[in-house]
Structures are given as structure tokens and as C-alpha cells.
């Protein structure tokens, strides 16, 4: 349909003005916020192989994938009212999605009305620092980064097929997941669920009401803390390793290889304690019961404390 034919034209209107006006009217009628978002033209900047990449976005998505170039390349789209602030030098590139007119976005009524999407490729060993409010964050294929930090308030945070020395991921209500290898993982949520899988050194998960599921090859240190979320760990514990689990009412399930060597101390105020390793469960005078003893050579250490959550030590 040729808009020019639909509307009566006044010969007094300038030719240059009318098409824009009509186009704008068509856009409004179609009323697609997507179309109002402005594409970000693909841009690249050099970055050292082990340099750092930072990004922040309030609403929408931050999507990071590794590649073999010593370069950051980004594209995506900006929701209406948003602008992209770029800072760069040879060792650091930063992309921040902010409000166009400089006013604050905090507060429901003042937030961005549309998603902004950042799609980025970064050097495979770069360090990452990604921050979102309701945007989702996903990271893929990083190899040997020194450090990756990703936090969101209500968005999801997910890392796949990645390896890093140090990983910190958190979300308040979004789910957090990591599949890969890390020297140390620190994952935290309030109500989001946590999923960690892969071969990792030290793993620490903390949640209030989300569930935490950890599937590891071997951990040196495993710390898990929950108020009401369940904790589910399956994996091996290194010979001199340490496991420390605290839960108020979440149930705790720890599955370890049958040939594990560890000293176990578990206690619960009112939760049930059970195990597949022949450890005795004793009732205390008054409330509370304990489960303690040695499995195998007793080299590693396992401490589990629960208030009303059940604790089950399983064998595989």
C-alpha cells in the first residue's frame, strides 16, 4: 500500500516533510515497540586476549560468546529511551545501556519501557563483569578467563561450556546456572534456583528459598547454605576436601562415591538424618539428633547442620 495515495495531500506541504510524517504515522499505527527499538550497528574494538569486558543493562538481554579474535564485537538493539555508552582501551571495553536523557531509571514508573539487547563476541580468555537488573545474562564458550562476574536482580544468569579461574554469579529472583569448569564458583540467589555442573575446585552456593543442585566431578571444598531451599549435591569430594552445609528448613541430599574417605558430623534439630554409609544416628536428650562417624579412611571432612530440613547422605 502506498501511503502517499491514502491521504489527501495539500500542495502547500513540502515534499521532504510529508513522507517522514506519513511514515511516522504508519509506524505508530502498527504500534510495534520492537520496531521502535533502534538497532545497534555492529561495531568492533580491539581488546587484549586477557583484557576485561564489562557490560550493564537494565532490561532485556546481555549475551556474550567467546571467539578467537583479540577483539570485542557488539550489536543488538536499544529500546526507546535508551542509549549505549562505550568506553574502550586496549585492556578494557565497557558497554553501558543507560537512559537517553540522563535521568535515573530507578523506580517502576521511571524504568525503560522496552528491552535493550546486547549481543557481544569477546576474546575467549577475557575477564567478564556483567550486570543487569531485569535483563537476562548468558555467556558461552569462554576458555580460561581469569574471572567472570555476572549479576542480575530478576533476570536469569546462565553460563555454558565455559572455563574460568573464578566465577561469581548471582541473581535475586532469577535462576542461575553454570555448566563448565571453574577453580572457584560463588553462586548466590534469594529465590532463584541454582544449577551448577561440571568439574570444579571450590564451590559455594548460597540461597534463601531457591533450590540448589550441584553436579560435580570432584570438589575440593563445597559450601552450601540455605534458609528454606533444598540442597542437592552429587559428586566426589577430594581426599583432603571439606564440605560444609547449613540449612534451616530445606532438605539436604548429598550423594558421594561409595569409596569416599571422610569424617562426617551431621546434626538436625528436628529434621530426619539418614545415610547409606552405616553411620549411627543418635538422639540427644532433648530435641535434636546427630549422625557422625568415619567413612573409609576419614580424610576429608563433612559437616552438615540443619534445623528442620531432612539430611540424607547417599552413596553411588
Amino acid at each position: 500500500m502506498n501511503p502517499m495515495m491514502e491521504f489527501p495531500m495539500s500542495t502547500a506541504m513540502s515534499v521532504s516533510f510529508r513522507p517522514k510524517l506519513l511514515a511516522a504515522l504508519v509506524m505508530t499505527v502498527l504500534s510495534a515497540p520492537l520496531l521502535a527499538a533502534t538497532p545497534i550497528a555492529e561495531t568492533a574494538a580491539p581488546l587484549d586476549a586477557r583484557g576485561s569486558f564489562e557490560a550493564s543493562n537494565v532490561r532485556g538481554r546481555i549475551s556474550v560468546t567467546a571467539w578467537d579474535r583479540n577483539e570485542v564485537s557488539w550489536s543488538g538493539s536499544l529500546g526507546s529511551g535508551a542509549k549505549l555508552i562505550v568506553e574502550k582501551n586496549a585492556t578494557r571495553v565497557s558497554l553501558r545501556v543507560e537512559s537517553e536523557n540522563g535521568s535515573s531509571w530507578t523506580g517502576w514508573n521511571k524504568g525503560p519501557r522496552e528491552d535493550s539487547v546486547l549481543v557481544v563476541k569477546v576474546p575467549a580468555s577475557a575477564s567478564l563483569d556483567l550486570s543487569a537488573v531485569s535483563a537476562n545474562i548468558d555467556v558461552t564458550a569462554m576458555r580460561g578467563s581469569a574471572s567472570i562476574e555476572a549479576e542480575s536482580v530478576s533476570g536469569e544468569v546462565g553460563l555454558r561450556a565455559s572455563s574460568t579461574d573464578k566465577l561469581e554469579i548471582s541473581s535475586v529472583s532469577g535462576d542461575v546456572s553454570f555448566e563448565g569448569q571453574a577453580g572457584r564458583v560463588d553462586a548466590e540467589t534469594v529465590s532463584g534456583d541454582l544449577r551448577i555442573s561440571g568439574a570444579s575446585g571450590d564451590v559455594s552456593v548460597e540461597t534463601v528459598s531457591g533450590s540448589a543442585i550441584v553436579r560435580a566431578t570432584t570438589v575440593t571444598e563445597f559450601e552450601a547454605a540455605s534458609v528454606s531451599g533444598d540442597i542437592d549435591f552429587e559428586g566426589a569430594l577430594a581426599a583432603n576436601g571439606r564440605m560444609d552445609v547449613e540449612s534451616m528448613s530445606g532438605d539436604v541430599s548429598i550423594t558421594l562415591p561409595a569409596n569416599t574417605s571422610a569424617r562426617v558430623t551431621a546434626e538436625a534439630f528436628s529434621g530426619d538424618l539418614s545415610n547409606a554409609f552405616g553411620l549411627t544416628v543418635e538422639d540427644e536428650d532433648g530435641p535434636g539428633s546427630t549422625m557422625h562417624g568415619k567413612i573409609g579412611g576419614g580424610s576429608a571432612s563433612i559437616e552438615i547442620e540443619s534445623f528442620s530440613g531432612d539430611v540424607d547422605l547417599r552413596s553411588r
Binding site: T265, E267, T290, H292, K294, E303, E305
Partner: protein, 199 residues
């Protein structure tokens, strides 16, 4: 502003005191610098303090005497902190235990070291499975226990502390405290076995 909506528990006001007892009167005087009052507190409580420190120290009287003095010097220094909400003897007792345990920790040189109660050495202390020459002198037998297990046993079975209190003081998990107690008692019973029962 904050207090208007959240009245703090009575701990916040230092001059709200319960009914006076002889101890409390002495404590108030001593807290103000009266050394005679402090001496009277010492006379009233020293034997009790010495007993618990002696047991925790494994029967070394000279050491226990030094530590008892240390404990009372600390008491003098900390008297202004005494809250008057509990018995002075309880507060004093805890300070004395803490003093003795700190000394044990630094003597071993490894504050965090936990004796492994499952270690075979634990059971053979000095190569003795039974101590016939000690008969049923319980104090002498308690003194033979390794320091940490002895501390747990003394605090729980002699002094009546709960496991939560013991684990807090010793810096261990409650479960470890229970495990130590369990093993310590078994050892004692083993060592004390004889005419009164099987080992």
C-alpha cells in the same frame, strides 16, 4: 528516633539492676576500684575457679595456680562489663574457663587443631589400655585424656555445660563436641573398668 519504634532489651541500660546479693554488692564496689571488695570476691570464689582450671589443665597444680591468678586479673579488668543480669559466679566461671582454654590452645601452638578421636593413638594414650594403679581416682584418669576431649568432658559432665556452649567456647561444631564427649566417656569407662565392671 530508632528507639521510639524499637525499644531495646534491658541490656542497653546499665543501671537497671535486679535485687542485690552479696556478690553483686561486692562487684559494684570492686568495679569502682575497691580492692578490698575484690579480695572478698576472690575469697568467696577462688576454690571453685581453681577446681575447674585444674581439671581442664590435666592436674598440673602449678600451672593451674598461675592461670587462676591470670583469670582473676582479667576479672578485675572486665568487671565494668558485668551486666548484673546473671549470677556473678556464672560470669566468673566462664571467664575462668576461657582463660584456661586459651592457655591450652597456645600451649599446643595450633589453635584450630582438632584431635582426631578416630585416630588409633587416641585409644592407646601412653600405651595403657587400663590403669590399675589409679584405682578409681576419677580426676587422675580425666587428667590422662587428650586436652580437647578432656575439656569437653569436664565442661559437660562436671560443669554441666550444654554442647552449644562448649562448641562456641572451643570453636568446634556442636556435632564434634558430642563426638568428643562420646569417645572421652568410653575411654574413661574402659580405663576405669576393673573390679567394678568389665573393661
Amino acid at each position: 528516633m530508632m528507639f521510639a519504634i524499637n525499644p531495646l532489651p534491658k541490656a542497653s541500660v546499665s543501671h537497671a539492676m535486679p535485687a542485690e546479693s552479696a556478690d553483686h554488692a561486692l562487684v559494684r564496689a570492686a568495679a569502682d576500684g575497691d580492692r578490698h571488695a575484690f579480695e572478698r570476691l576472690y575469697r568467696r570464689h577462688s576454690a571453685r575457679v581453681f577446681a575447674v582450671i585444674l581439671r581442664l589443665q590435666g592436674g598440673d597444680r602449678a600451672r593451674a595456680e598461675d592461670l587462676t591468678q591470670d583469670a582473676f586479673v582479667r576479672v578485675w579488668q572486665k568487671l565494668p562489663e558485668f551486666r548484673f543480669e546473671s549470677a556473678f559466679s556464672t560470669w566468673l566461671h566462664r571467664l575462668a574457663v576461657n582463660t584456661a582454654l586459651m592457655a591450652l590452645r597456645s600451649a599446643r601452638g595450633e589453635p584450630g587443631a582438632d584431635e582426631d578421636v578416630s585416630d588409633p593413638e587416641f585409644h592407646l594414650a601412653d600405651g595403657m589400655a587400663r590403669l590399675p594403679d589409679l584405682g578409681i581416682d576419677l580426676d587422675k584418669v580425666i587428667a590422662k585424656l587428650p586436652p580437647r576431649a578432656r575439656a569437653v568432658l569436664v565442661l559437660h559432665d562436671v560443669e554441666g555445660w550444654k554442647h552449644e556452649e562448649i562448641s562456641d567456647e572451643l570453636g568446634m561444631a556442636v556435632g564434634s563436641s558430642k563426638a568428643q564427649l562420646h569417645r572421652a566417656r568410653n575411654l574413661l569407662k574402659q580405663w576405669l573398668g576393673g573390679p567394678h565392671g568389665r573393661a
